[in-house]
Symmetry: C2
């Protein structure tokens, strides 16, 4: 989304990193934490599903949902009837949410059960989500959510009409209180375990895209677009 | 995990399905909801990462973590210093959590931006998580978490010793208030959009496992085990 991206600077300081807060500093494996803005953006941009947490009747609720990023803002959309979107709308201060994105890059198999792990990249965003009412911002947000799933797709589909827009709620969460956590590399076995006869290493994982399957009612003269071949 | 699985029955009734509750009935797309026990188990068993939500200082927190299933119980482990595990330990009634597992099976591209969707299978479990103190249950839980990542691996690694066990907290969440949500099939375009020139269909997605990478310090005479080739 380069056109809406804030100008990046190469100078050190707050522009290149998010400020750590009490809840973005992990209690464990602090060396895996990152507040680097570009790294956070890149982890977010590789995903299109997040897990959105909110509190209902004092209890946590975690739901998977699509999202989109525009600069320092994340957007989530849904039916105007959905619970978190209604809750965000009913309050001036917004709805407290936690939005988490996770990529699993590998299964880390150590000789000891204890040191089994995953290679992963995750981003956790804390903050207040607000309902977006400005019509232009709503359109930008909805395009961003489609682009997040398949870059290039928002220009190759019919935009939402007035009736569809009226049925769609959009909430915004600013990237302020945010951290990434990253594990890479092989297993960290104890020295005493190195001679054990168990295979040890990493099974790399990546999402596999299969050949696109046209809709039953698609005109066969419409070819698979280039932006899908690039996935 | 067949040895710990409760006996399945083919008769209809509560044994084959979870009871729906206020918070397991979705406000939208109710036709996608399922309470079928076998279906819920199968979605859980295909995953090894869940997103665990809990409430801290009144705000939601969502963290990715490994988990394991043993019959009607889910287990999550972590350092005894980790926040949710400490919180579960400090309370007799347990810690209110929401544990969510999501598989994305396809990107659903409709002619209209509005009807874009995902094919997915998710499970959402609500309940109180309790710290597991029984040594035998803790061992079963830790084995299950390793087995959930790679079936067959728990017997091909060194089990946790006393010191490692002492550093590991395990919490349990029973499968009581639970639902699955499933979307399959192609896009649902409006009749008025069928003649639009946009490609429409599904891009299938599945996790791709690459060739296992041995640890730098692995004895080259140790071959890749069969249970990894089966992934």
């Amino acid at each position: 989304m380069p056109e809406t991206e804030p100008q990046q600077t190469t100078a050190p300081g707050p522009a290149t990193a998010y400020d750590a807060t009490g809840r973005t500093v992990p209690t464990r494996s602090r060396e895996r934490a990152s507040y680097d803005r570009e790294q956070v953006h890149s982890i977010l941009d590789e995903a299109y599903v997040c897990h959105l947490g909110f509190v209902r009747d004092g209890a946590p609720v975690v739901l998977p949902t699509l999202f989109g990023r525009v600069g320092e803002r994340l957007y989530v959309h849904g039916s105007t009837g959905s619970r978190p979107l209604r809750a965000a709308d009913g309050s001036d201060e917004g709805l407290a949410v936690c939005l988490t994105v996770t990529h699993v890059d590998g299964l880390v198999l150590a000789r000891s059960a204890f040191h089994h792990s995953l290679n992963y990249r995750s981003v956790v965003v804390h903050g207040m989500a607000h309902t977006v009412t400005d019509p232009e911002e709503r359109r930008v947000a909805l395009d961003a959510i489609v682009e997040q799933v398949v870059p290039g797709r928002s220009k190759d589909s019919r935009p939402a009409d007035e009736k569809e827009l009226a049925a769609t709620a959009v909430i915004r969460l600013d990237l302020r209180e945010v951290s990434a956590k990253i594990r890479t590399g092989g297993p960290n076995d104890d020295a005493r375990d190195l001679a054990l006869p168990h295979w040890s290493g990493v099974v790399p994982l990546a999402p596999g895209y299969a050949t696109p399957v046209p809709a039953d009612d698609l005109d066969p003269s419409i070819a698979v677009p280039e932006y899908l071949k690039a996935l």
